[in-house]
């Protein structure tokens, strides 16, 4: 559903960064983007998001100059014939309760960066804006690009 509104969200985020002066009660740590080859059309962003406020918050997506679409994804793990099968599902948002932490990591939930327009290399930095709630709450980040995050 979010997909249809993403152009709107991006434009709204311009206003949001001009700001209402309210600081979002959110702390983001350890954000990074997976380096992928030119043949890849998608990659992922990972990070730990803390909700330091009193109200629940939803991470609803993002935007970046390297792609046209960034959406939250839930990784599913189910057993088929005794073997685990992993998949993903698009969600409109990932909820973070007050005082709670959302961990986005390889093999788990992540922000999927789709329709890549450029392929940043390991060691480069990428501009990434994270969208919360209605989408007019945003946080701008500059995140490193790794093939695999340092353990």
């Amino acid at each position: 559903m979010l997909k249809k509104f993403s152009p709107l969200l991006i434009s709204l985020s311009l206003f949001a960064t001009n700001g209402l002066g309210d600081e979002l009660p959110i702390k983001i740590e350890g954000a990074w983007v997976q380096a992928v080859p030119r043949a890849a059309e998608a990659t992922a962003a990972y990070m730990t998001v803390y909700n330091t406020g009193q109200k629940p918050i939803q991470l609803t997506g993002g935007s970046s100059p390297i792609a046209t679409k960034i959406e939250p994804m839930v990784t599913t793990r189910e057993i088929q014939n005794g073997h685990q099968v992993m998949g993903m599902e698009t969600v409109t948002g990932l909820q973070i309760a007050p005082g709670e932490t959302l961990v986005l990591k390889p093999g788990g939930n992540h922000l999927m960066i789709m329709n890549l327009t450029s392929h940043p290399k390991e060691g480069e930095q990428v501009k990434l804006t994270i969208h919360f709630d209605s989408g007019n709450e945003t946080i701008d980040l500059e995140v490193p690009v790794y093939k695999r995050d340092p353990k």
């Binding site: 997976q34 992928v36 890849a40 073997h83 099968v85 993903m88 999927m112 093939k147 695999r148």
Partner: protein, 229 residues
């Protein structure tokens, strides 16, 4: 000879000398044999211990004959598993539109490969088998797979060959379309195991996705397979 034998004293002397020599020979030969036996038991025991030690990966006991898949490699050439006989093979299933699991798996495999001593790198091959043959043409795989390590090889095939290969290793995959989206835009949910084929062409171990991060433990498994062999 006959003269010596005719002398009774000489006879006794010869007899006792033979007895003494015989005794020494028996002791010497006996000790040597005993030492050899001990050494043999010790070596067998050490090997036995190495075999018995638990692998980090889940072991197939006994190891199965690995299904000899016939696929197409990233250069568009026919490729079958048995052409790697004598090498240790690690492979996984995936697709290049995969944002999360596949780049992570290939990055982990490249860490493992680079952590191996050079002599063992030459005795090993990493393969990535596409479960999205419709989009993953050889030329796409050629750009994608060697990005993680120049020695890695991507494989594709027709949908029957891929299905047959996945089935032989107990892997599943399923194409998932997003309602209302372009039919060419889809995800592939898939098994995320890593399969280890030993140099004898036997499927010996299986790793799950989360284990792959433990580079040292997997390197230890690989080195042990080479030693025990």
């Amino acid at each position: 000879m006959s003269k010596t034998l005719s002398t009774p004293s000489g006879d006794r002397l010869a007899e006792s000398r033979t007895a003494r020599i015989g005794w020494r020979v028996y002791v010497t030969v006996g000790s040597v044999l005993f030492a050899l036996l001990c050494a043999f038991i010790l070596t067998r025991y050490t090997t036995y211990r190495k075999v018995q030690e638990k692998f980090y990966g889940q072991a197939l006991v006994p190891a199965k004959d690995a299904f000899d898949f016939h696929l197409i490699d990233q250069n568009g050439k026919l490729f079958q598993l048995s052409q790697l006989h004598g090498k240790l093979v690690l492979f996984s299933f995936g697709f290049t539109h995969c944002p999360n699991i596949c780049p992570t798996t290939l990055s982990d495999l490249s860490k493992i490969y680079r952590a191996l001593p050079e002599k063992d790198q030459g005795k090993m091959q990493v393969l990535f088998i596409s479960v999205d043959p419709q989009r993953d043409r050889p030329e796409i795989l050629k750009e994608y797979v060697p990005y993680f390590d120049a020695s890695f090889v991507g494989l594709t095939g027709n949908s029957d060959q891929i299905a047959e290969t996945a089935k032989a290793y107990g892997a599943s995959y399923e194409i998932v379309h997003t309602p209302g989206e372009d039919p060419d835009v889809y995800f592939v949910n898939h098994s995320t195991y890593i399969y280890l084929i030993n140099p004898d062409g036997k499927w010996q171990l299986i790793y799950n996705f989360d284990q792959l991060r433990d580079t040292e433990k997997i390197v230890a498994d690989i080195e042990r397979i080479h030693v025990v062999k």
